[in-house]
Amino acid sequence: MGEVILTMKGIDKSFPGVHALDHVDLELRKGEVHALMGENGAGKSTLMKVLTGIYTKDSGTITFEGKEVEFHNTHEAQEAGIVIVHQELNMVGDLTVAQNIFIGREFKKGIMIDDKKMIAESRKLFDELHIDIDPKAKMSDLTVGKQQMCEIAKAISHKAKVIIFDEPSAALTEKEIEDLFVIIRDLRKQNLGIIYISHRMDEIKVITDRVTVMRDGGYVGTLITEECTKEDIINMMVGRVIYEDPKTHSMVPDDAPVVLKVEHLNAGKMVQDVSFELKKGEILGFSGLMGAGRTETARALFGADPKTGGDIYINGQKVTINSPEDAVKHGIGYLSEDRKRYGIVVQKTITENSTMATMEKFTSGLFINKGAEKKAAEQYIKELATKTPSADELVVNLSGGNQQKVVIAKWLVRNCDILIFDEPTRGIDVGAKNEIYKLMNRLAAEGKSIIMISSEMTEILRMSDRIVVMCEGKKTGEIRIEDATQEAIMDKATRDIN
């Protein structure tokens, strides 16, 4: 490791309602691979967005190559030599590899683009990095792993001095990860500074020099990789005092009937042979890091995405679920993660959204019984304490928390026996959160069965009767609440060499 190339000191950033970064520090040296770790929502992405100019910091300083800098967009950052390789690749699928690498700055021979030169330069680039990709190949024909290599090559060709990798290995095969590490070691030898965001303990151990851990938007500490253990890192990631009492034991009897049984569910890379049971009156927490496959599992179960295999049993009977229509008919409701995109119909009112899944009950023949509809909506506005002037208010005008309540109301109106809540309190203020927790407990007590997907450790520990942990498409563990600790969960949620 050489001299310091980049220092971020006291970075602070707030958005309405959330303090995303709280005086975060980060130091990067030349020739160093520096890991940035933390749970979902710890602030890693936000910190990098501040660095590369996507967000403007509220306070703090960024020093690059000895000078204080502030970038206003990714171009400025790129010009200075700081490049980020995103999780979602920004490639033009219909163009070739070489064309993508040099897009926007093509070599020209008069009016004609000099594709030959671009191919030659790309080859040179790939040779330097020991990457084996044909520059003439069409981008969309390549595997995700190879596409990522191209993105890296593109970053290098911009004469990058600092490269940030955001969860680079998420979509790669074992072999591709090895290739990636070869490249990273090469870059390190060339004295680049590399920030490596990942949750994979084994990779951290293999490729990085230091590890910085963030938690809840704050900076926890920096360790030297060689000198620390997985437990040390986990402790830093989760070592918070939980003010709300975690649930200590479950009220669900051991012999409670199984309302939902999922066996060998398969849906691509994100859902691999997942099996679990849900008991009546139970809240089953689904824990794991981003990209673990929990939402994908829920969607495959709900029929929202096609599945390649698996059996679903409801109350002991095998059922066929190939669409959300089927799932809803069998009594399953699904509250998606992204309520704005998948939960609410923005041009419609609270009433109309509330009855969207239960129209048969409120129509006689074709006609909608608007009176009954409104009464039902108002009932749940009251029950859920949704803040709104009236049931006729357009959903788009409500705050996030209240929008969530409308989506919940939709499934309550339907009276589903099985409810899947995907990140139910994300982006919601504390007051509304507690109301939703109270509601979930009440529903469970009434005999409804709930699957709760959550990335918030406190939430998982507070609400679940049992916890299923997933990691990269596989179910890695099942823990009863009596035995659950943050460390135990995180241990199963992070990949390990076993």
Binding site: R341, G343, V345, M356
Partner: protein, 325 residues
């Protein structure tokens, strides 16, 4: 201005619709002043003749636009219905009632064709419209061997002209009554029935509706079927007022129908539609074309104006939505 906008009556009727209505009145006054003899029943009946068929076209396409799609085959399809039904009437001696029904059925079939391609096969609506438009033109011509078709006159010796009573009886515009009834029915369908609810919702956020357990493809197709059926009805009112249909025409009415919708507040992005607004829009366009004719300007001038109207209103909608985001 904000105060006026918050007024409960204004909110109920719709601020934009009220403005549009005022424009309608102003236009009428302007034309009456500029053109001697414009005011009066004769002109009004002529305007109404245009309102009926254009109204059915526009109301039909309102449902399609509500789903976020488009159908600009409506004009040629209307002509196709009128041609085939009229030809059967004249050449195959089909009774008038059957011919009227045939017209509606043909429109219905086009609706199914368009709707199935868009909702179940996934062909982009504008391509389906392009193809349907040409198929309708071709079909109409083939069936009538490229001849124009004249529907029976009011004083038809065989008594087949009774269908004109649907448009006008003496000095009473019966067509207006029928149109008004349909407007009410369609309003109810759009705002008070399950299909209407689903159609508007899926236009706003198709995935959210699908995840609520609704078979969105079915309802998306239904919008096109409703449109096709109304186009078949529009054909009846077209021939009721204008008698003769020529094959190969009909395009201009597409834009006029779409213009009526966008003026009335229906958003091209889907999810927002106004039956009442469309109706006012239809009256504006019909009045406009009557006035332009009276000013001895050509239909082509109308085409240009209609094109500009659509551009202006859609741009207004696009920028309003951009600002909201």
């Amino acid at each position: 201005m904000e105060g006026i906008k918050q007024n409960p009556i204004v909110k109920k009727l719709g601020f934009n619709r009220i403005i549009l209505f005022c424009i309608l009145v102003l236009l009428y006054v302007a034309f009456s002043i500029a053109i001697p003899g414009f005011a009066g029943m004769a002109r009004i009946m002529s305007i109404l003749n245009y309102v009926y068929f254009l109204g059915f076209l526009a109301l039909g396409v309102t449902f399609v636009i509500a789903t976020g799609g488009i159908d600009f085959s409506i004009g040629p399809v209307m002509f196709c219905c009128a041609l085939i039904a009229g030809y059967s009437l004249n050449t195959y001696k089909l009774p008038v009632a059957a011919a009227l029904l045939l017209s509606i059925v043909i429109g219905f079939c086009f609706g199914i064709f368009n709707g199935w391609l868009v909702a179940f096969v996934g062909v982009p609506p504008f391509i389906v419209s392009m193809a349907s438009m040409n198929i309708a033109k071709g079909l109409g011509s083939v069936f009538t061997k490229t001849q124009s078709v004249s529907w029976p006159q009011a004083n038809d010796p065989e008594g087949r002209g009774w269908f004109r009573n649907l448009v006008k009886v003496g000095g009473v515009p019966t067509g207006l009554i029928i149109f008004a009834i349909f407007v009410v029915i369609l309003f109810i369908i759009m705002n008070n029935t399950k299909p209407g609810r689903y159609i508007l919702s899926l236009g706003s956020n198709k995935e959210a509706v699908r995840l609520s357990g609704v078979n969105v493809r079915k309802w998306q197709m239904l919008a096109y079927v409703i449109c096709g059926t109304l186009v078949g009805i529009a054909a009846i009112f077209f021939v009721g007022a204008y008698t003769t249909v020529q094959p190969g025409l009909g395009d201009t009415y597409n834009n006029e129908a779409i213009a009526s919708c966008v003026m009335g507040g229906t958003s091209m992005a889907g999810g927002l539609a106004s039956i009442g607004g469309t109706v006012i829009g239809v009256f504006v366009i019909s009045l406009l074309q009557e006035g332009i004719m009276a000013l001895r300007m050509t239909k082509e001038v109308q085409m240009i104006i209609t094109g500009l109207i659509v551009i202006v209103f859609v741009y207004a909608d696009v920028s309003a939505r951009r600002r909201k985001n």
